[in-house]
């Protein structure tokens, strides 16, 4: 199995706030991330796919196809957007990095088969860097 990791970048703002809790509880839970007008990050997104190395093409994945999939399913909606308002899933879910990873996995999987009709490659891992100090990683199911 060979793994290929491709890095993407997007800039977005968000606000961590849950309607299930009071203002004070949100402040306790999310700290300054709950400030009412939101704030932003330069996110770095590493997507890892795995598969056998195809003897003919010498590839695990067609990078152009992966780039198109990520652009259509993620970057187009996320880049230079306010996640709480502009990305439909975050109308309900709080856009924590953990939830962002889950949404990204769902979005990629929804169109994965049309981008990659065969058994391979498979989505293996999504890593999201919110800031230089905060890294979040999801092993795809």
């Amino acid at each position: 199995m060979t793994r290929v990791t491709r890095r993407y970048r997007f800039a977005a703002s968000h606000r961590l706030f849950s309607g299930q809790f009071s203002e004070e509880e949100n402040r306790e839970l999310y700290g300054k991330c709950t400030n009412p007008f939101g704030h932003g990050h330069d996110y770095v997104l590493d997507i890892t796919v795995a598969g056998p190395l195809d003897a003919f093409s010498g590839q695990v994945v067609n990078i152009g196809a992966l780039d198109r999939l990520v652009d259509e399913q993620i970057l187009r909606d996320f880049d230079h957007r306010y996640l709480n308002v502009d990305v439909r899933e975050f109308g309900e879910k709080v856009p924590t990095s953990e939830n962002i990873l889950r949404v990204m996995e769902d979005r990629l999987k929804a169109r994965w088969r049309s981008a990659f009709p065969g058994e391979w490659p498979r989505l293996e891992n999504i890593k999201l860097r919110e800031t230089r100090r905060n890294l979040f990683e999801l092993r795809a199911s």
């Binding site: 199995m1 060979t2 990791t5 190395l53 067609n62």
Partner: protein, 138 residues
């Protein structure tokens, strides 16, 4: 325990399969199929696995590892056009995947029977694209 040594080399390549048309190659490899080639500053990270020798406290001598990487990978590939100057890329397409596998194949025989085994080759083609190759059976 793992130890990783990093090395760099600059090389040019073109990704195109001789049995495909220019249009098919462009579909498969994108801009990498441009016929005159282009280059990258490749970065390779070689990871060994093993238990430290109780006497030396080392899995493998990093200086020796550096020499092996230089001799088998950096010297033959640095400032070369891979397709024309570095076999087997006269016969197989020098995609990042194939270059990572070839680096693995060149290094792997040096780690038979000792404390350390070759665990992973990570090859960065650019800062935004890397391949991990851990052998055919991984």
């Amino acid at each position: 325990m793992f130890i990783t040594r990093k090395a760099e080399f600059s090389a040019s390549h073109v990704c195109a399969h001789s049995s495909l048309t220019p249009e098919q190659n462009r579909e498969l490899y994108g801009a990498a199929a441009n016929p005159s080639g282009h280059g990258h500053n490749y970065v390779v990270e070689v990871t060994l696995a093993g238990d430290p020798d109780p006497a030396t406290g080392m899995i493998f001598d990093l200086k020796q590892l550096k020499d092996i990487i230089n001799k088998t990978v950096v010297e033959p590939m640095d400032h070369r056009f891979l397709n024309y100057e570095v076999p087997p890329f006269d016969r197989i397409v020098p995609t990042a995947e194939n270059v990572a596998a070839e680096i693995w194949n060149r290094l792997e025989p040096h780690f038979h029977g000792g404390r350390a085994s070759l665990h992973n080759v990570r090859l960065y083609e650019t800062e935004d694209l890397y391949v991990d190759f851990g052998g055919e059976r991984s």
